[in-house]
Amino acid sequence: MDLHAAKMIGAGLACIALAGAGNGIGIVFGSYLQGALRNPGAASSQTTNLLLGFALCEATGLYGLVIALIILFT
């Protein structure tokens, strides 16, 4: 197997990290909705935590994407 093919496979494998990010974002918003529908009064006070959780979650997937790009373009 030559180096170029191995690089392509490696970059593809690194993108699996995005599956975890997808799961995490689903859990963040799902749990927020569950909590918000049970206690709508407290919902607006938790939007900070919601956005923070979303951004932290999304970032973990993007680390994988950055690794894929590093593999591809170096």
Partner: protein
């Protein structure tokens, strides 16, 4: 027809002559430096023009400036308490810089300053240095108590290294989060734009299909605006949270 989606992130010198020579390195005035100047000028212009005729009943631009002020001040109050407001100028400057460079980067043809790891890493380094200096000024050597949570002694053997590692990786995570979000979003826009061109160039009935990635670009563009705001917000609020830890260690305000 294959375009390189990473081409938009290339840093190119605008003036061909180097500005300075420092230690054998040539310092060029690049498109990145230009857009950083543009961002700073835009923020300054927006705030000074909006507040130049301060009125009791604010005009539309004045209320935008007041809104951004109140937004950041509220963010600091809710995370660090009233005594965190000393850091308001610092957090506000970081928030406005990141916000404006994210949004200016969305203009087609503009250079995204925050898609360069050098810029985001420098921002994160300034934040972490401020946190460390604040911690030592406020608590002296007691700042090291930050790494010792309330736990049984045997657990501490495990927890202290974890706390230290998590403190040290904040620098990387804070910078890479912003950089990766901007890089991924702009690459995605570019990839879909190349789909439009590739489909349009096939000719015949297939070229009509190029309208579908076009709609995709509009959708992703809207998503990118959300991300542009959200990342500036997250960068600022994480700065506040780290400053809160430096100010108050583990106690709740």
């Amino acid at each position: 027809m294959a375009m390189n989606p990473m081409e938009q992130f290339e840093v190119k010198p605008i003036l061909q002559q180097p500005l300075l020579h420092i230690g054998g390195h040539d310092i060029y005035f690049t498109n990145q430096a230009l857009f950083m100047c543009v961002v700073v000028a835009a923020v300054t212009l927006f705030l000074t023009l909006a507040m130049s005729r301060g009125r009791l009943v604010p005009s539309r631009t004045q209320s935008m400036a007041e809104l951004s002020y109140e937004f950041v001040a509220g963010m600091i109050r809710s995370t660090t308490g009233e005594d965190g407001l000393v850091f308001f100028p610092f957090v506000f400057a970081i928030f406005m810089f990141v916000l404006f460079s994210n949004f200016l980067g969305l203009i087609p043809g503009a250079f995204t300053v925050t898609s360069q790891i050098a810029v985001t890493f420098a921002l994160a380094a300034v934040v972490m240095l401020t946190v460390i200096v604040t911690g030592f000024v406020v608590h002296g050597l007691g700042f090291f108590k930050l790494f010792v949570p309330k736990a049984p002694f045997l657990l501490l053997i495990l927890l202290v290294p974890i706390e230290i590692i998590s403190f040290l990786t904040r620098l990387v995570s804070l910078s890479v989060r912003l950089f990766a979000n901007m890089l991924a979003g702009h690459t995605m826009l570019q990839v879909f734009a190349s789909f439009v061109i590739a489909l349009g160039a096939t000719g015949g009935i297939l070229s009509l299909l190029s309208i579908t990635p076009m709609f995709m670009i509009i959708f992703i563009g809207a998503l990118e605006m959300l991300v542009a705001f959200l990342q500036a917000y997250v960068f600022a609020i994480l700065t506040c949270i780290y400053l809160n830890e430096a100010l108050h260690l583990h106690e709740h305000h």
